[in-house]
């Protein structure tokens, strides 16, 4: 077999595995209980590895929030000193089968979604999605949401999910895509479908009425609820795609606000990084481009499985959030086919003539065409202490893919 043929076959295997994924929400649990390698005085974060010194403002704010949430520090100043002194370890979510939105910080007592890919038996974890702490806001207001997850919503959902014997996510995603969701920044439909599914079971799961009502209200009124689930589902789909010999398929795209990093199937756990790009976007009242931090979050895992920017042509509703015209959105989707291995047989997008969504980012095609994946994303402030300030479109730096391709050449070419 020539190298080209080997790569082709390896990529087809990668595609097969992505498409075969069967993500099921099996539990909701504290991180310490379920995340491999979770331990005290450890903060997991989004993106490739980064030191406190190089960490961006918003992620620092989120880390400070975690120290306060866990009670390691009594105020922000003490938290900052601890972190600067290296008293708390910082590791990427991705090294622990986990993903997190925006700053993506997770510690022992954070409750996480537990998604199992029934096709391969592996699990993936994602924390809740909210508009405050994950953007760097460490005020009590922000932390109270994390506390509610720990004390009210998480345990209630755990009871409901266990009672249901798990919630298959693939059917929900398929229906939501037809309804205009793209599974990254527009998840209204999937969130509603999920709320509908768990609602009756929540009522009947044996928790106190107040807790049930609070949780019903929460799941029924959270437009970004399902993002945590789609991220965990995507992560659970991509992890079995790691370490396929000679495959050029991207297994992770992740940002920490300082750097953008990718991992490639045939290149193991090596990160290929470049400075994190700016997001081209729209801003909430009072905020401008100068206030923005750089691209951040593990949520680009959704693009790896062909959601988000890859189906934006089918989700024009997202454009009021990110800017752009419907024609541009369609053009983005068309460009994504040019850099993908194949198409999903399951997720058909109406606005793209019911074509299967493009699946499997091939670093060869990215470098050849100079088309980088399209990611739609929220925008954080560059300083700690703020919540969400806007949303838009971001394109990864092509250097990540070029460096990965060069390494691939070193490793596999005679």
């Amino acid at each position: 077999m020539t190298l080209k043929e080997r790569i082709g076959a390896a990529n087809q295997e990668a595609l097969r595995r992505i498409v075969a994924a069967n993500p099921v929400l099996v539990d909701v649990a504290p991180a310490a209980e379920v995340i491999p390698g979770m331990r005290e005085r450890l903060i997991l974060h989004s993106g490739p590895p980064v030191s406190w010194e190089r960490m961006c403002g918003a992620q620092r704010g989120a880390a400070i929030g975690m120290c306060l949430f866990e009670g390691w520090a009594k105020d922000a100043l003490e938290a900052e000193r601890m972190l600067a002194a290296g008293a708390v370890a910082l590791e990427p979510n991705h090294h622990h089968q986990t993903v997190g939105p925006m700053a993506g910080t997770i510690t022992s007592n954070m409750w996480v979604w537990v998604v199992e890919n029934k096709a391969f038996g592996n699990r993936a974890f994602c924390r809740q999605v909210e508009a405050l702490q994950q953007f760097g806001d460490y005020s009590q207001n922000a932390l109270s949401l994390l506390e509610k997850w720990r004390d009210v919503w998480g345990p209630a959902l755990r009871a409901a999910v266990r009672k249901m014997g798990g919630v298959p996510l693939k059917p929900l995603v398929a229906r939501a895509l037809q309804m205009g969701d793209e599974m990254h920044n527009r998840v209204v439909a999937s969130s509603s479908l999920f709320a509908n599914a768990v609602g009756p079971v929540l009522v009947d799961c044996g928790r106190p009425k107040e807790q049930v009502v609070d949780t019903l209200y929460y799941v029924g009124n959270h437009p970004f609820l399902f993002l945590g689930l789609s991220m965990a589902a995507a992560k659970s789909a991509m992890d079995p795609v790691r370490d396929i010999e000679a495959s050029t398929v991207v297994t992770a795209m992740a940002r920490n606000g300082t750097e953008f990093g990718i991992q490639v199937s045939g290149l193991g756990t090596e990160w290929f990084t470049a400075p994190s790009p700016r997001v081209e976007g729209l801003f909430l009242p009072g905020w401008k481009d100068e206030d923005a931090g750089r691209d951040m979050g593990d949520s680009a895992i959704t693009e790896c499985v062909g959601w988000g920017g890859f189906v934006i042509g089918g989700a024009p509703g997202i454009l009021t959030f990110t800017g752009g015209t419907a024609a541009q959105a369609l053009a983005f989707s068309r460009d994504m086919y040019a850099i993908s291995v194949g198409k999903s047989p399951d997720y058909l997008v109406p606005a793209l003539d019911f074509q299967g969504a493009p699946v499997g980012i091939d670093i060869r095609k990215v470098v050849q065409t100079n088309i980088v994946p399209v990611i739609d994303t929220a925008i954080a402030h560059k300083e700690p202490g703020h919540s969400i300030i806007g949303g838009g479109i971001v394109r990864p730096p092509v250097e990540c893919f070029a460096r990965a391709l060069a390494r691939f050449g070193e490793k596999y070419r005679e």
């Binding site: 190298l3 060869r364 470098v367 100079n370 070029a402 391709l405 060069a406 050449g409 070419r413």
Partner: protein, 59 residues
């Protein structure tokens, strides 16, 4: 199924052009009334010859 050169030469079948490169070519044919698809071409691998050569082996 590609069209035979004979058919294009005979002139019954109008050529439909893809212009790859300098726009003047495509524009002159379009001005003459022929259908032209313009490719917004850029060198592979952003012009990096090392990567372009690597791609010739990999893709």
């Amino acid at each position: 199924m590609s069209i035979k050169l004979e058919d294009l030469v005979r002139g019954d079948l109008a050529p439909v052009f893809v212009n790859v490169g300098v726009r003047d070519f495509g524009e002159s044919m379009r001005d003459a009334g022929y259908e032209v698809v313009f490719v917004d071409w850029s060198p592979p691998a952003g012009g990096d010859p090392r990567l372009a050569a690597l791609l010739d082996d990999l893709l």
